[in-house]
């Protein structure tokens, strides 16, 4: 499949009143370059999703609602959908609840009206669709529902990676091999969504769950499985969330946020029962089609496999303690993962590894606490000066998980 252009095309005529509402217009489904392209003008820019030719879909607006919703919420303007592209009545009702959740997380996001022609959708297909990047979470969710899942969903712009179109092609090829071996259908959705979001400075961390679920709604499966990234004890505002994802359910499709109660190490342990699952693992921070073996995410997966006595053909194995240095945590989420791995190391009597990881966690906590202490002692004015001196991307982002005043 040809990789789509990663840019967004600005429409010359965005239409009247464009500042007063976010419009989804000109929803089209055309066969192009061996795939079905579902496109629309969303807030004046073309947004495209390219589905494989064997995917069953119609020219409807659902796929565009996810991203458009956030632009409308940031601007506090209505979301208006072209009459020719109807929206599921059930989803229309739920969109209010979905917005309330995001607005509770971040009071800078407003709950806005959605104007659309509604219809009662027919029953869903018999398909069970699972979001699938090849990572530990999605492979675990697939493994847990292997007897039910018929389709795997991969979306361009979601996986980490710096390789652009080539990386996406490699990712699709790898996931296709796995899907074929498993007798499942891979639905690889090419998209320019990343560019669309970047132009609007909307965070993917905020929007990714909604984008996934709205694409799934376009495909009408009976169930859509969204793999959990975090466990129930560490819930925080995040684009894909156990309380938000199921709100995208419709009479046709039940959306399930899965894997919420299993820690990453436990998920990996389950995968170790099947070498085929291990050999396709794609976990890298820097690539979507191969694992670099040198980033923190590759290393913590390789170390977990090492401690469990397993290997992945797609991941350089852990060989020496010097590699542990890659695991020095940079945020609290990493600390949780390190603690899990340290417990596993103790369980398998690798106290040397457990001690090293424990030392990393402790050092991180000392540094973080001292930073917090300094920041609090210095006060808000010093913090503002610091942010001005060292600006981050989120300083100018318009849609964030929490209000700017929290950051």
């Amino acid at each position: 499949m040809e990789a789509p252009d990663d840019s967004t095309d600005t429409m010359c005529d965005a239409g009247p009143g464009v500042r007063d509402a976010v419009y989804i217009r000109d929803v089209r489904l055309v066969a192009r370059d061996g795939c079905f392209e579902l496109s629309a003008s969303v807030d004046g820019d073309m947004l495209r999703f390219r589905f494989p030719r064997d995917a069953s879909l119609e020219a409807r607006a659902e796929a565009f609602v996810g991203p458009a919703l956030f632009e409308a919420m940031v601007r506090n303007v209505p979301l208006v959908i072209d009459d020719r592209a109807p929206l599921s009545r059930a989803l229309h009702t739920r969109l209010n609840d979905i917005q309330r959740m995001f607005a509770t997380w971040n009071g800078e996001l407003a709950v806005v009206p959605i104007e659309a022609r509604q219809f009662d959708e027919p029953p869903g297909t018999d398909e069970v669709l699972a979001a699938f990047s090849g990572g530990v979470d999605s492979t675990y969710t697939y493994a847990a529902h292997r007897d039910q899942v018929t389709q795997l969903l991969l979306i361009e712009g979601f996986a980490a990676g710096r390789g652009g179109a080539r990386d996406w092609e490699g990712n699709v090829a790898a996931r296709t091999r796995f899907a074929r071996a498993e007798g499942r259908q891979l639905i690889a959705v090419g998209s320019n969504i990343r560019g669309w979001l970047a132009k609007r400075e909307l965070s993917l961390l905020l929007t990714h769950g909604a984008i996934m679920c709205s694409i799934a709604a376009t495909l009408y499966p009976s169930r859509f499985l969204v793999p959990a990234s975090f466990t129930a004890d560490e819930l925080a505002p995040w684009g894909s969330h156990p309380l938000v994802d199921p709100l995208w359910s419709t009479p046709a499709t039940e959306v399930i946020h899965h894997g919420l109660t299993e820690a990453r190490v436990e998920k990996t342990r389950v995968l170790c029962a099947d070498q085929r699952l291990l050999d396709q693992l794609q976990v890298c921070w820097f690539a979507g089609s191969m694992n670099c073996g040198e980033c923190g995410k590759c290393m913590r997966t390789a170390l977990t496999l090492h401690l469990l006595g397993a290997r992945s053909a797609n991941l350089k194995p852990y060989t020496h303690r010097s590699q542990l240095a890659l695991l020095q945590p940079t945020d609290l989420a990493h600390v949780h993962l390190l603690i899990e791995i340290a417990r596993l190391a103790t369980e398998v009597r690798r106290h040397d590894i457990a001690d090293t990881l424990r030392a990393y966690v402790r050092r991180f906590r000392v540094l973080q606490a001292s930073g917090d202490l300094l920041r609090e002692l210095a006060g808000a004015r010093a913090l503002r000066l610091w942010h001005r001196a060292r600006p981050h991307a989120w300083h100018k982002a318009r849609g964030l998980l929490r209000p700017r005043t929290d950051l």
Partner: protein, 397 residues
């Protein structure tokens, strides 16, 4: 009885019995060898099912890693029984000391006893807001003995009487449920904050209305492991009853502002930490309520108005569970343009953050051994619990 005496055996619910008397309908059972009972108003339809005893048995069983067995003909709602594994998985995720255990019970389809909706109602901000918001659906308010200030029989009677007066004035019916379940939980040294949502869910299953509202204490933004939670409460739904964790989309200050527009509800607010029968006006919970009313320029007949911003010093920010309330007050003061209140609140927050950062720094520097020594020297009540919201085995390996 000694809970640890027969640690390996099942936790059994048996002799489920429903008796009618002039005092009410008493549903009782032997739970792990102890008599647990719930007394409902005499005119309510109650089925002799075992659902209501599940919370008492569940946590004991999870602590002991022992199956739950329901003996006799009293069944469990099939939907609830099916959800029990998911419910336990969440509690296990929060606290790995709690194990996921099997349930052996006859399952039945729960039938609806009340066509309307019940709202759990303490008279506090969260429950008053839920009642006000869903006033068109709610037919009954529920108060349960054993929640706030649970040892005082006098407070319970007075509180139930006051909630009853409000219910009558609002044209809804009050259901006052008496029970010894709190005593059972406390005797087993299980933290009530872990169990309370399940106890309410079990009572909801017994009363079997169409909808059962459990008012949220925290917003979606401030979620943390707690016995009443948007992930766990709905799992107590049955074929007859949908359990709704309600109000997590609205901050406490916005809830108070909503209530303030309805004088009859505002004047019955009961928020105090020190009493369930009146508001002391001095505890942090009274203060954070009266602070919002002060910013709104309103008063409640049931709450001393306070002297602001000075009284804000009484706000005790002692952890991540109470910090969101101060954050909320700061947001509200900002929105209201109450600069003096905002300044004081920011200063309180800063003091907490400095203290907390210093504690964290000391803890990180000194490590687990210092924490263990401190716990041994300064033993706190939560350390005596057999199960709380988090594992008692902290540290990293």
């Amino acid at each position: 009885m000694n809970p640890a005496a027969d640690a390996s055996s099942s936790v059994v619910i048996e002799h489920v019995d429903l008796r009618h008397s002039k005092d009410g309908r008493t549903l009782s059972a032997l739970v792990d060898g102890e008599h647990v009972w719930f007394r409902f108003p005499a005119d309510l339809q109650i089925e002799p099912r075992a659902d209501v005893f599940l919370p008492a048995a569940l946590f004991e069983a999870m602590i002991r890693d022992a199956p739950i067995v329901v003996r006799g003909e009293a069944g469990i709602s099939a939907r609830l029984a099916a959800a029990l594994a998911s419910l336990q998985a969440i509690f296990h995720c929060w606290n790995t000391d709690l194990k996921v255990v099997p349930l052996e019970a006859m399952t039945v389809t729960a039938t609806r006893n009340l066509p309307g909706a019940i709202c759990c109602f303490s008279g506090g901000v969260d429950s008053t807001y839920s009642f006000a918001r869903h006033r068109d659906q709610i037919s009954h308010l529920l108060v349960v003995q054993g929640f706030d200030n649970w040892k005082s029989e006098r407070d319970w009677k007075q509180s139930a009487a006051e909630r009853g007066r409000l219910a009558e004035a609002q044209g809804v019916r009050l259901i006052a449920v008496e029970s010894n379940v709190r005593a059972f939980i406390e005797q087993r040294r299980i933290y009530w904050g872990l169990v309370l949502g399940s106890v309410l869910g079990g009572i909801g299953a017994a009363l079997a209305p169409a909808r059962f509202f459990i008012p949220a204490s925290w917003t979606w933004r401030d979620l943390h492991p707690y016995g009443s939670h948007p992930l766990t409460d709905p799992l107590w739904s049955t074929e007859a009853t949908e359990v709704v964790h309600d109000g997590a989309d609205t901050s406490r200050s916005r809830k108070i502002a909503f209530i303030a527009d309805q004088p009859s509800l505002l004047d019955q607010l009961q928020v105090c930490w020190n009493s369930t029968a009146h508001n002391c006006g001095k505890c942090p919970k009274c203060i954070r309520t009266s602070a919002v009313l002060h910013m709104l320029g309103r008063t409640s007949a049931n709450l001393p108005p306070g002297n602001f911003p000075n009284d804000l010093r009484r706000l005790a920010v002692d952890g991540t569970a109470t910090l969101p309330y101060v954050e909320d007050l700061i947001s509200y003061a900002t929105a209201c343009g109450a600069e003096d209140m905002k300044r004081k609140l920011i200063s309180i927050r800063r003091r907490y953050r400095v203290r907390s950062a210093f504690d964290e720094f000391a803890k990180a520097l000194l490590g687990d051994s210092a924490r263990r020594i401190k716990q041994r020297v300064m033993r706190r009540e939560w350390q005596t619990y057999r199960a709380a919201l988090h594992s008692s085995r902290t540290g990293i390996a």
